[in-house]
């Protein structure tokens, strides 16, 4: 569980110094230590981030590799409790080999108390973790219990280090491949944001703390400019595209995307919209055709629950062909894991507005913040289609016998005729409008204004639950 500290050449300034790291995190001159510096292995302080008050703690990698003992853990618990009492975001800077071996089970108990404090604070104040060096054992689960984990290029997270892995399983692996930004950013979903260095990791934490700590309010009057959002989509409706430029254009300016490389078929981004912090969820047709699958449903569900617990309204951009079919998906628990997204949306009380840009089919239509799950408003662009499935697929199922019975030379003409009829009866967005599951068809140029009005009109609310790391 514990790493021995690798001491690089002694220099005049040790960049692992926790006070240096905290100073780099806070606005200049705002750092106030919560307790005098000691040899506990943790330094805790209050300060400001773009003028927003925050609390932060940093493990001290210059002392016993930052290992966590009783005193250090007490400092962390105090920081978290202070943040909850004063309703401020709390940021943890991690570079820590785990529990202090010298203290034995006493240290384990102390680490457990840190976990308990994090769970008490979950959903009450934003908790952000920045992993700047190895975070092993207990120090791995610390960040994992918080809302958002940022990792720099030198960050590593694992339960057991390469040496233990080698002695137990015989696998040869280095720290980076075991628990670096690549595996955690792309494969495991442990890390939300990976950055190129420590400086940008701290900058990302600042931006997130500012977004979540000072959320602002929606000002529809501030939505100016007739941006033609539809120009960001290809003209052919069967052509896949990257949805990220659309997400950025809906927001006031590009936000912070979470889990960008993990489950990339759904995009989850925090940013400002009409001046207020919102969460955007969007299907990304470029990846897996934008299908929902087990991992993306879980990713989105956690994001919805985080936003709901912290009072952040949601904007949901829908262009989804359905759930990804296949044995792999079924055995991967797409039913169980997909149910999390249904649960998360149905439970959420924050204002949440849906926009169907091109299509919403089948079960995935329901899952993407549909009216039935309690959407505040559901809008659609003029050519959008809301249906159980696309017209041609529906015709193949509904009229299979009729098509088979038709003479071969006339079959394609009949098929085309049936597809046209099916499109007229069940396609498009008209039926959805009639029964009120789509509130209105909006022009791409007025979309931002309409979403802003819908969000501004909805009563502010916040889910009374924690943010379990789903």
């Amino acid at each position: 569980m514990t790493l021995t500290s690798s001491s690089p050449d002694t220099q005049a300034i040790d960049l692992r110094d926790p006070e240096l790291r905290l100073r780099a995190l806070f606005d200049q001159g705002t750092l106030r230590l919560l307790a005098p510096r000691d040899d506990s292995g943790v330094l805790a302080a209050r300060g400001e981030v773009d003028g927003t008050p925050v609390v932060a703690y940093a493990t001290d990698a210059t002392r016993m590799g930052g290992a966590m003992g009783t005193e250090g853990c007490r400092h962390i618990v105090d920081s978290i409790d202070t943040a909850v009492r004063e309703r401020m975001p709390v940021i943890g800077l991690w570079h820590c080999g785990g529990a202090r071996l010298q203290e034995g089970v006493v240290a384990l108990d102390a680490v457990g108390q840190v976990f308990a404090a994090m769970v008490r604070a979950s959903g009450r104040v934003p908790q952000i973790s920045v992993v700047l060096g190895p975070a092993a054992g207990g120090a791995a689960y610390g960040p994992a219990l918080t809302d958002i984990v940022v990792m720099s290029d030198t960050g590593r997270i694992f339960v057991t280090g390469p040496e233990v892995v080698r002695s137990v399983t015989g696998e040869q692996v280095d720290m980076a491949r075991l628990g670096g930004p690549e595996p955690h950013g792309r494969r495991s979903g442990v890390v939300h944001v990976t950055t190129k260095d420590d400086e940008s990791a701290l900058a990302t934490a600042r931006e997130l703390a500012s977004l979540l700590g000072r959320q602002g309010r929606v000002e529809p009057a501030d939505v100016s400019g007739e941006v033609d959002l539809a120009s960001l989509l290809p003209e052919q409706t069967n052509r896949a595209y990257d949805v990220k430029p659309l997400v950025s254009a809906v927001l006031d300016k590009p936000g912070v995307e979470l889990h960008a490389k993990w489950a990339p078929n759904i995009v989850t981004t925090l940013g400002r919209f009409a001046g207020r912090t919102v969460g955007v969820i969007a299907n990304n047709p470029l990846r897996l055709g934008g299908c929902l699958d087990s991992t993306s449903a879980e990713k989105a569900a956690r994001f919805v629950r985080m936003c709901d617990s912290l009072g952040v309204p949601l904007i949901v951009l829908v262009d989804v062909p359905g759930y990804l079919p296949g044995v792999g998906q079924e055995w991967d628990g797409v039913v169980r894991r997909g149910a999390k997204l249904l649960h998360a949306f149905a439970e959420a009380v924050v204002p949440r507005v849906t926009l169907v840009t091109r299509k919403a089919y089948g079960g995935a239509y329901i899952a993407m913040n549909s009216r039935s799950l309690g959407a505040t408003a559901v809008f659609a662009w003029p050519n959008a289609e809301v249906a159980v499935m696309g017209a041609s697929a529906a015709v193949n199922i509904l009229y299979r016998k009729k098509l088979a019975a038709a003479p071969a030379e006339g079959r394609e003409a009949l098929r085309a005729e049936l597809i046209e009829e099916q499109t007229r009866v069940a396609g498009g967005v008209n039926r959805a409008l009639e029964i009120g599951v789509v509130d209105d068809v909006v022009k791409p140029t007025e979309t931002r204004r309409r979403i802003a009005e819908a969000l501004a009109a909805a009563p502010a609310a916040r889910g009374a639950h924690g943010n379990i790391p789903l």
């Binding site: 069967n238 052509r239 470029l286 055709g289 062909p321 990804l324 296949g326 792999g328």
Partner: protein
């Protein structure tokens, strides 16, 4: 470092846009797949030379199949 690009899902290879030996930039479309009734571009995630492009138009790729290697 070589970057391998694999198919994310079962699909038909609808169009091959680049060829082995070509220089590609991040974001360039390498091939276009057809699946879920959509044309889905497979894009380069790094800049480099296409060391291998192993699919042909009309092929069916399974999830995890190698499509290209960029160096």
């Amino acid at each position: 470092m070589a970057e391998e690009i694999h198919a994310e899902m079962v699909a038909n290879v609808w169009k091959v846009v680049k060829a082995t030996g070509e220089t590609v930039e991040e974001g360039d479309t390498l091939v276009i797949l057809e699946s879920m009734k959509m044309e889905i571009p497979v894009v380069a995630e790094s800049t480099g030379v296409l060391k291998e492009l192993v699919v042909n138009e009309g092929d069916v790729v399974q999830e995890g199949d190698l499509i290209a290697v960029i160096e």
